[in-house]
Amino acid sequence: MERPGGRSCSGPDPAPAPAAPASVSLAQLLQLVQQGRELPGVERRHIAATHGEPTASRLPPRPKPWEAAGSAEAPAPPP
């Protein structure tokens, strides 16, 4: 697979991406990456932990289907 960095020697400077479409297909995105072009609509976040305490649990744990009485010996009939 061609390395995108290789284009910087032979090709023009990375061109700006076309106007951001609603959704870029994986094939289109791969092409942009390979051409060294800017990806449209990249969302940058600067989120940090709130360091809050989790809300207290009010529900008892539910038994798993395989923990239900006798289930290990007799699971539901298979399809």
Partner: protein
């Protein structure tokens, strides 16, 4: 965005891109008609590509989905919390993170809490009852974290994470630092799953073509299974046989492994036409499992039958990465794909009487 960054990105997305090229080369997929699905619910999430879907162990119909912008190659990530109602799937809450989210696991001792992992090497602890988050961020892995799993045996509340830095880390989510690091895999780790039966025991699957079984108490590997001659993207434990696991690999196959004798698989399931991305055993049926693949399909299997393929579901138009079977309803399944959709449905093979 620097070229060096994009180069790094491309190198790190080895198999996705290789498969895309192969798909392009092979020409268009034959997309058969999906048959027999009913009561399917779909939520479209524009600009987000689904990586993992997990049903809540507490609330029937609540689903978490880990997703990434731009297929996880660039941009942010989003944790989506969904609820089902009569009319379909409703978005209850969504939380953004700075980098793509690749996996999610629900707490087993608090219905509000879940943990995600992301491309920047961190884990995040979230609270669905709060509008803002995450509560905590744990950053120790040096590369993408591709899997997280909350322990399934009662009396332990631990999380394992598997990373492309080739290590597994063990976490107590109430403690800010990892408890332990497990080394041994010789390539990226794609999957880490706790045994539902054996306390302190988990499995990992790796690009080094091995399945490994680990014991937290001895902080070492117990069993190394050279399970495929290809990267292994997923593994899971049978819920009704503590010695049985399944692996799903880039060679398109699923293989069953009995830990008492791992010299050869106890079953092999063939049918997927591209890499198997995720595999899960049924919580209700001892010999039933489901798998999703880069071939866009979800397949249901009964490995105890001579003709094990029960059903092929083709309702996505991109790589299908997330898959879960409901713990409340024996027939309900959720999946998510890179086509920006999350679906909940009841496949015919699980709804028909035996």
């Amino acid at each position: 965005m620097s070229l060096e960054f994009l180069e790094e990105v491309k190198l790190s997305f080895r198999h996705e891109l290789e498969f895309l090229e192969e798909v392009n080369f092979m020409g268009k997929f034959e997309r058969g008609q999906r048959v027999g699905l009913w009561d399917k619910k779909t939520l479209r999430v524009p600009g987000r590509h689904g990586y993992a879907a997990e049903f809540s162990p507490y609330l029937p119909g609540r689903l978490a989905c880990a997703a990434a912008q731009h297929y996880g190659i660039a941009g942010c990530g989003t944790l989506l919390i969904l609820d089902q109602n009569e009319s379909g799937l409703r978005l209850f809450r969504s939380f953004d993170w700075n980098d793509g989210l690749f996996d999610v696991t629900w707490s087993e001792n608090n219905e509000h809490v879940l943990v995600t992992c992301s491309g920047d090497g961190s884990l995040q602890l979230w609270d669905t009852a709060k509008a803002a988050g995450p509560l905590q961020v744990y950053k120790e892995h040096a590369q993408e974290v591709y899997s997280v799993d909350w322990s399934q045996t009662r009396g332990e509340q631990l999380v394992v994470s598997g990373s492309w830095d080739q290590t597994v880390k063990l976490w107590d989510p109430t403690v800010g630092k990892s408890l332990c690091t497990f080394r041994g895999h010789e390539s990226v780790i794609y999957s880490t799953i706790w045994s539902p039966h054996i306390p302190g025991c988990f499995a990992s699957a790796s690009g080094d073509q091995t399945l490994r079984i680990w014991d937290v108490k001895s902080t070492g590997v117990r069993i190394v299974v050279p399970a495929h001659q290809a990267e292994i993207l997923s593994c899971d434990w049978c819920k009704y046989n503590e010695n049985l696991l399944v692996t799903g690999a880039v060679d398109c196959s699923l293989r069953g492994w009995d830990l008492r004798n791992v010299r050869q698989p106890v079953f092999e399931l063939l049918g997927h036409t591209y890499a198997v991305r995720r595999v899960k055993f049924s919580p209700f049926h001892a010999s039933v499992l489901a798998s999703c693949s880069y071939d866009f399909t979800v397949r249901f299997w009964n490995f105890s039958k001579p003709d094990p393929l029960l059903e092929t579901v083709e309702h996505h138009t991109e790589f299908t990465c997330g898959l879960d079977l409901s713990l409340q309803s024996p027939t309900q399944v959720a999946d998510c794909a890179w086509d920006e959709t999350i679906k909940i449905y009841d496949p015919v093979c699980l709804t028909m009487p035996a």
